[in-house]
Point group: C3
Chain length 295, copies 3
Amino acid sequence: MRTSREARTHQNRLAALAGALAVSRVSPLACWFSSMLYCFGGAVLSGIMLAEPPVAPLSNGTGVMLASIIWYLVFYCPMDVVYSCAALLPLRLVLSAMKEVTRTWKVLGGVTQAHNKYKDSLLVMIAIGWARGAGGGLISNFEQLVRGVWKPETNELLKMSYPTKVTLMGAVLFALQQTHYLPLQKHHLMLFYTIFIVVNKSRMMLTGSSSSPFAPIESALYKTLFSGHSPYAALTAEVRKAGTDNGTSTGTACHATTKESEKNRSPGQKNSSSPVEGEEGSLKAKEAEDSKKIN
Amino acid sequence: MRTSREARTHQNRLAALAGALAVSRVSPLACWFSSMLYCFGGAVLSGIMLAEPPVAPLSNGTGVMLASIIWYLVFYCPMDVVYSCAALLPLRLVLSAMKEVTRTWKVLGGVTQAHNKYKDSLLVMIAIGWARGAGGGLISNFEQLVRGVWKPETNELLKMSYPTKVTLMGAVLFALQQTHYLPLQKHHLMLFYTIFIVVNKSRMMLTGSSSSPFAPIESALYKTLFSGHSPYAALTAEVRKAGTDNGTSTGTACHATTKESEKNRSPGQKNSSSPVEGEEGSLKAKEAEDSKKIN
Amino acid sequence: MRTSREARTHQNRLAALAGALAVSRVSPLACWFSSMLYCFGGAVLSGIMLAEPPVAPLSNGTGVMLASIIWYLVFYCPMDVVYSCAALLPLRLVLSAMKEVTRTWKVLGGVTQAHNKYKDSLLVMIAIGWARGAGGGLISNFEQLVRGVWKPETNELLKMSYPTKVTLMGAVLFALQQTHYLPLQKHHLMLFYTIFIVVNKSRMMLTGSSSSPFAPIESALYKTLFSGHSPYAALTAEVRKAGTDNGTSTGTACHATTKESEKNRSPGQKNSSSPVEGEEGSLKAKEAEDSKKIN
């Protein structure tokens, strides 16, 4: 099961690469803009959220120039030397570790920027820190649109990837530190957080596992908060009642729904310790099921 | 006809509920964010329109906390007590009436905010007042996107719902009052408008009718302004001429088109007094028809 | 080949007109809003990019009133007099020339506005000048969404139209002039640029050709920069390796890929001198091909 899913993930990644290749061939400009959105997505998104010019990253000439040169070399270098080198595991490991280090700075920058504008608002700090650190992922729907791809059925809120999760965790920690709820000094927190994300990223790359270290916590949180006894029975009952071809709704609505919701939940929890991670694609399946029930 | 449409609307509502249930199960975060966009959509939209931070609603800690608690109770309360209670008619009536009262405040707030920035511009005041009061509906395409749903063929401008219409009317009235074109005192207008929307909403909920009180006015306006004699004949004629399999275009283009446009219009006006309301889905049908004619 | 493509383009234009007609009939408000986005799209887009109120164009009462009157006359004038007149070639020629003259002013306005905020940033000036001058095209995806149309597979970055290209060129020239890299006086540059775009537009309208005057430059640039020897061989090789039903991958990956990329590139370059122009639709084809290879 796990191997087939990994193979699927690998194929998806290759399909995405192939799409990116086609775009780089058809329209270098769209390819460049999409890459820049990926690099500076956090600054663009946090700029929009704070009503500061989202065009600001372009004014940082050196940064854009550097990103553009690397973009050019990755996509158009003769003999594809640059991509081939960067794809080698040791170099990829070093580059990924460096990327994770910048994540700490981005998150901290976002939290500080929000703190300057909204002194006491923990939520705003978390939101801006998260947006700054994981912007490329959060606006992925629109980054894809630049390349002519549109996948509305998926986004980083519906199914968070590991970088998005770890950035959210960092934003929460730094915001708590900033408001002195977390009794730690800033540079200590930065050190601990950076070590954690670098070690974790390296471990994931070396073992090839995509299991999140948060899976047990997530699972516990999910079970505690979001799956009480027979949740939203009345809603589901009404949905059920609408199914006219469903002749078996004889038991009490509440009881029937409890069983049904257990049944609905079981696939996600058998296959994986984290329901959010494990329910890959089950949203679609469920919607199909629901619409079947209704029609 | 009407009953079947109402049944369809009810089924659509149930399908939407089922989708919301699936999202609340798969990703509580996406569900929460979508709910917050629904609650604070007006503030977010008017913030973007006036280049003020759209993240500002998050800084109102009490409001977000209250909305989050209610969101949590509606979706995850044990035994689904909260939703079941709120779904009872008397309580729903009270809650809806209270919601309509807040609409007055939202519209007025938007108009005042715009008046502070753009002294004399009636249009900006109307736009901001409308956006503030009906924001959740106007950004519904993007609110749906958060939940992985994408329905580009429909939006609140193409087919306005009753709340969006009544908010637009309110924004126009308050903007006229603000610029002293309407010889009424502000608190009188607020009182009259609030009574009108509360009474109207209650009437609609009690009778279960979805007929808008503006239907006659809309119909009259539409007939006067937007359906002159043989409108856009030349355009339609050109579209016609492109249809090569259409051997009957012998009459003068203008005459033929007049008849054709009458024919096109008739379904919408037979079925309903309001063409905008009644032409539900006819846009799709027309486009199919048009493309048939062309190809 | 060329004739059939032109016929297709004409049919697409008619289909778009038919869609616009349907929208103007079903929802005059959506039609009006879409038209206003088309007129003031540049101001809206550059406003968002510089964190200035995108609602500002609405505060220019005279402009909106004028645009609205023309919109009304084009869509709803009795006997369709206005559209018929405007569709006559001599009048269309004059109107188009006037539209091109305003383009100079828009681009210059955008560049100056950006220069006031970001003194030394060439990139920001180009971006804002381009957005101001070609805004309606650049946000066409969202302008279409207002009318219930969604075409994610195409946008102005993936396949630039002539007006978008000429505006980008103008933005680059005016930004270079503003930063004194271009040793020309502003009013001379304005004169030359305006004459160039007016003459070019008139030529294109009179000859009915859609060939861009930049085709040779584009082609040379593209060949020099974006199609080195065997670009991204490693990437493509990996994509190839994933294809299990492809039993012919016996040569060295690099060699095989070079040939393949040549093969992939050839259709675009045989049919047209400009690869960007000529690869119309090839993105889709390539993606289909790629996904076939992978699955």
